[in-house]
Symmetry: C2
Subunit: 534 residues, 2 copies
């Protein structure tokens, strides 16, 4: 099986394992490539007769972070390319743009965005697969399941989060995650993997139900550890699979790389995708598998450039697994997209003539933890020197007293950000500090960079309204009209067309929806956002 391992490596767009180890640190490559590790890269990827659809979402993954990931790997690590760009440049790929407006707003949240894909219908922000007046909408997963296809949902967020849930659940409120877990139990997808054990665990659920037991009783293998997921017992089982590997969201890829106890427990997105494909492809009719790199969004809300880049890197490595799968199963359509922009992610031109831009982007590389981890270590009572020590420990950058004061201020409950929309704190302040080099005045009145830091800028800590990338390839890709600008609702149409299904959900106009808009108060929204990304 040595050769298969070699092929696998080639799939990583020319990235050798050696290079990967250099980039990600020892252990990372093993974490990523279980097949290669075991010399079993093609395990389970036998040819199936069915028609498959892999729908890969980078949540809140605007154009900027995709390019940032590509630039880091090609310009900083000297790799030959990325899987994402290899497919974007392939003459056989379909490349397009997608608008993301929801029914209530030119800026969507993940719930109605995912509903447009699953039902072809626009609804209100925060609503699952239902019209604003409560009428449930039939989803693509319900439609294909009726016809005997297998269904799988894989994410790095809680499995009960909006993007996967909107393909199954009809809750009117995305935060009803206890209920969404129950909706999964009723729907019975063949594969369900991600985080969010608190919505399955009887000691954490409001109704005290033991959903792990309920899934097991319904014929599921239930796993909560990576080793168990990757065991031959799980692989060879013909049961459906529930894998829940963390209480809330799974950890950022950045943190899994740097904390062995996390990567020991939590599988990577490529690993979960590999197992999911092995499972759902056993269905002779075919399958729909949604795979979500769900925390690119969270990193962008936090203005955490390096966590966002690495979670996007993990999406790119997931594309390598899919490439390998396609070799054995050419009757598979792959759609890759993002649900909305987030925080206007941009690599800013840096220094005179922008000639320091590459050097500045390199400065994120030594960062050893996400803001989520750093924030977990900071306390609002910290002294400036404590803040400076903690920040330096994780980022290598020794910040000034003034900058430490900014972080300290941003942790206080009455903090008023300079930009009104930079509300997620102290994350946004840390993001700004990391994107800010320190200059000294020269005797001639000019300035010289004393300390070079990074250069990723953000427009806010909120989603943004611009169009998103749309990439599709594989079986029938050239027959679906995805090679142009489409509305997000069109993806439902394209998926129905792929499966030969004719179905039209009811719709509501913006005007008809207005009476049903019950916008949360600012405080409720703040609590939602805390729940959302934490």
């Amino acid at each position: 099986m040595k050769k298969a391992g070699g092929d696998y490596e080639k799939n990583l767009a020319g990235v050798s394992r050696r290079e990967m180890l250099k980039i990600m640190g020892a252990g990372a490559i093993c974490t990523l490539l279980p097949g290669a590790r075991h010399g079993e890269s093609s395990e389970g990827f036998s040819t199936s007769g069915g028609e498959g659809l892999i729908f890969l979402v980078g949540d809140g993954m605007p154009l900027g972070v995709i390019k940032g990931m590509h630039q880091i790997r090609t310009k900083v690590y000297g790799e030959k390319g990325t899987n994402f760009y290899a497919r974007m440049k392939d003459p056989n790929s379909m490349v397009g743009y997608m608008s993301t407006d929801s029914l209530s707003s030119i800026v969507t949240d993940s719930a109605p965005a995912s509903v447009t894909w699953s039902t072809g219908v626009k609804t209100l922000n925060r609503v699952m697969a239902s019209l604003p007046d409560g009428r449930p909408l039939k989803t693509i997963m319900e439609l294909v399941k009726e016809q005997g296809y297998a269904c799988g949902l894989v994410t790095t967020t809680r499995v009960t989060h909006a993007t996967p849930a909107a393909w199954v659940s009809h809750q009117l409120q995305r935060d009803a995650e206890d209920e969404i877990a129950m909706d999964y139990l009723k729907f019975k997808p063949e594969v369900l993997m991600g985080g969010g054990s608190r919505f399955f665990d009887p000691s954490r659920r409001k109704d005290k139900s033991d959903l792990f037991k309920a899934f097991a009783d319904s014929g599921y293998d239930v796993v909560s550890e990576k080793a168990h997921l990757l065991s031959s017992e799980t692989l060879s089982s013909s049961k459906s699979l529930l894998g829940v590997f963390s209480s809330s969201h799974m950890s950022y890829y950045l943190d899994r790389i740097h904390q062995p106890e996390l990567s020991k427990k939590q599988p990577s997105l490529p690993e979960m995708t590999r197992i999911a494909l092995q499972k759902v492809s056993k269905n002779p009719k075919g399958f729909v598998l949604q795979v979500e790199a769900g925390r690119i969004d969270h990193a962008n809300h936090s203005n955490d450039a390096w966590a966002a880049i690495l979670d996007t890197f993990e999406l790119d490595l997931t594309l390598a697994v899919i490439e390998e799968y396609l070799k054995f199963n050419p009757k598979t359509l792959v759609i890759v997209t993002s649900d909305h922009g987030n925080a206007g992610w941009g690599v800013n031109g840096t220094g005179p003539e922008y000639n320091d831009s590459t050097e500045a982007l390199k400065k994120y590389q030594p960062i050893k933890a996400s803001f989520e981890v750093i924030k977990g270590r900071l306390k609002k009572e910290n002294s400036l020197s404590e803040i400076k020590d903690i920040f330096e420990h994780f980022t290598t950058f020794r910040i000034t007293d003034e900058e430490a004061s900014m972080i300290q201020a941003a942790m206080q409950p009455d903090f008023k950000p300079f930009h009104g929309d930079y509300v997620i704190q102290p994350d946004a302040v840390m993001g700004m500090i990391l994107a800010h080099s320190l200059y000294a005045k020269k005797s001639d009145g000019g300035r010289v960079a004393q300390v070079r830091r990074g250069n990723v800028g953000f427009t806010s800590t909120n989603h943004t309204g611009e169009d998103q990338i749309l990439l599709s390839y594989g079986y029938k890709a050239n027959q679906l009209g995805l090679n142009r600008h489409v509305d997000n609702t069109y993806l439902f149409t394209a998926m129905c067309k792929y499966f030969g299904i004719q179905y039209q959900n009811p719709t509501m106009t913006e005007e008809e929806a207005k009476p049903f808009i019950k916008t949360a108060s600012l405080e409720e929204w703040r609590r939602h956002m805390e729940l959302h990304i934490a």
Copy 2:
């Protein structure tokens, strides 16, 4: 000719003149549609036998501002659509993405970006059509001119600015605009229109040459007023045309709409494009016409959302002129793109559930002047109340003392921006204030929006590194490989292919180029940036 006028209106993606008048104010529509005004919409647009290429550039026009323009018109003004999106959605259009890295940086400036298009070669930031070591590169305009095609360059910047100039000039420094004007005189494009009379005027040029006279002596019609440009004398002339309508850049579309003396003197981009097409299409062999909406870039450097939206609107209206031209001349290829990102332009989700996003975007509409004009009225000695009055006069927003202090501080020479890269001031501060609603604390601890303002955020006042939109349609568009991700250098290849030209310029690697990088000092760069956008 009533019917032709009607057709013209339909070309505006369903925007009636009545709606246009409502949107842009009386006078705007007449400014825009000279053909319709005179009942002569098809004048000059007879069918020519040649092969035409229209290369339309939105300089520094990232995805966000295109969408912002579309959202303003569809969601705020209730228009049915935009020309840009009509073509993006057309199954016959080719839609792709383009990377923009220069030889020296992952963030390009407009000079090497335009050089990639004109020569297929990457060079250093700020260099015209030459390799870093000074070897000149042959441009697409030189290649087609040799074969007898007509060449035209139209822009809203100084005609000597980087984007048009890089298709003709081989200067090693884009700021050598005196020399670039001379290069045009040698090259003799059939049409050259935009701003920048100071590089033609003997009283302003370093060498005191009268380039207006020199162009006239070389057989050009030389015009400097809109009325003269649109006169039947100019239209019927078979001479080449030099039109220079302002000392530096032409005014922002926003300012031309609101200041009759500006729109009296300066033609609009659609008007210049119409005349240019009438001229260059007379060549029986065909033509290359570059048209640039060149100040979207400047507005974005200034974080001036409304000026950027309206200059992008003007680009969209230019597409309507091109639509009309295509009806008579189907043997025309149209390429629409942008040279680089700028300032991470993003419509931020606003308010709880982002449901205030549309309302917030509407708040830019009453703004009556660009930051260029507002800044021209502000003085660093202004009192806070003077600053508040001036800002309110142009924007309708009464800002707080604290906000006025921020503007005041940003006008002082020793100002240190919170973000190191928000260097263009007080523009960036004004942009932040306009994107910042004012909230009051409620008795329950929550907040309520007291004053709703806009919601366009920026990542810096610099260019950004993400990929740009690439749209092409018309003659042979489906044969050029532009329906995927391409490097910016590929556009030269595609244009050569279109004209059946085989040509390969020499190239240098990044490593070979390094000894030739003579990055400006920060102070030189600051002076360049001042010259650049002012």
